[in-house]
């Protein structure tokens, strides 16, 4: 177990990685040697991580058979075409659906509201239904926007 301070420890971890991956410059090499000399735990950790590197270097991604590439680019192109088709179908269906739903609800609302015989509880239920729907839509939209804004993965930037 290393006894380094947190800031030094973070630096040491970066140097350990660079040493294992052969990306260490001469100055960094000296820096790491000094750190390892002063901390036996760090030397043990370096040896442990080197063993992991040795093990993982023994496997690689399995290359596919050549048949995989037959028609690969045409498949990608077909996907692009179909994606556009689905997008248009989806957009059309959405507009028509919203339009139909609006008319349905509006007609229902008008007929119930205009009818003087409609009991008060039913009128209140209509108002509750409309208000509840609006609250739900607002809540979902706000959640989506809030989640996206606070997604840590979307805040990655190159310094």
């Amino acid at each position: 177990m290393s006894t380094l301070e947190p800031a030094d420890r973070e630096r040491a971890q970066a140097l350990l990685m660079a040493a294992i991956d052969d990306e260490l410059g001469p100055d960094e090499r000296r820096e790491l040697d000094a750190l390892v000399a002063g901390d036996a735990g760090l030397g043990a950790e370096l040896a442990r991580l080197r063993r992991v590197k040795e093990v993982t270097s023994m496997v690689t991604l399995r290359a596919p058979s050549e048949e995989v590439w037959d028609g690969y680019w045409k498949g990608a192109y077909r996907r692009a075409e179909r994606g556009l088709g689905w997008l248009l179908v989806g957009a059309g269906a959405l507009v028509l659906g919203v339009w139909g739903l609006w008319h349905l609800l509006w007609n229902l609302f008008e007929s119930l509201w205009a009818d003087t015989d409609t009991p008060l509880p039913v009128r209140l239920a209509v108002v509750a239904l409309v208000l509840g729907g609006l609250v739900l839509v607002f809540s979902v939209v706000r959640e989506r926007l809030f989640t996206r804004k606070h997604d840590p993965y979307d805040r990655e930037v190159i310094r």
Binding site: V59, L61, R62
Partner: protein, 191 residues
């Protein structure tokens, strides 16, 4: 309509042609990058069929969003941004993760010489090693896995990983450290 030999056109020209909706240029770009995209997806999702589907889908989305593409920047770097998001979203499906845990068929021996020597005992040993490593990689958080795969299987430099993943080099190193530490724990605990 088969693409012409890929070597004849430079990438910026192809990207410009693709931006204009040229399917042939798109085909050439796909042929140039399909192997790398497939392997990147394979490293991220651990399933060969899904890697093919996801890499094709990434190309398709790239084509649909071609007007956003800058011809002076690397096409693959742009494609990779689409691909990694697709793979991450894909993996968040619990059923997919469970399926991926089922095997290590997406890994092979790095030492090509072992493939030609029929030695059942050695092959068993190798298969067990692949299984253990695959299970340990599957258990990594997706961002650590990404950096590990780019380093270990693609052999990229830290700077290249930082550019592809859109993160600082320091983050590459810290994620790699965390990944290897988890792998060490998993592999040692698996003995």
């Amino acid at each position: 309509m088969d693409p012409e030999p890929a070597a004849v056109a430079d990438e910026a020209t192809l990207v410009r042609r693709m931006r204009d909706g040229d399917a042939e240029a798109f085909g050439l770009l796909v042929e140039r990058h399909m192997r790398r995209a497939y392997l990147a997806a394979l490293g991220l999702v651990g399933s060969r069929e899904d890697a093919r589907d996801l890499s094709q889908e990434a190309f398709a989305r790239a084509f649909r969003a071609r007007h956003k593409l800058d011809p002076d920047r690397s096409f693959y770097a742009w494609l990779y941004q689409i691909l990694r998001r697709l793979c991450f979203n894909f993996r968040r499906d619990r059923a997919v993760r469970a399926r991926a845990l089922a095997g290590a068929a997406w890994l092979a021996d790095a030492d090509a010489r072992s493939a030609g020597v029929p030695d059942p005992a050695r092959e068993l040993e190798r298969a067990e090693l692949r299984r253990r490593v695959a299970a340990a990689i599957e258990a990594l958080p997706e961002r650590e896995r990404e950096v590990f795969v780019l380093k270990e299987f693609e052999g990229l430099k830290y700077r290249e990983i930082a550019e592809l993943a859109g993160i600082p080099i320091g983050t590459v190193m810290s994620r790699l450290y965390a990944a290897r530490k988890r792998l060490a724990d998993a592999l040692e605990g698996d003995r």
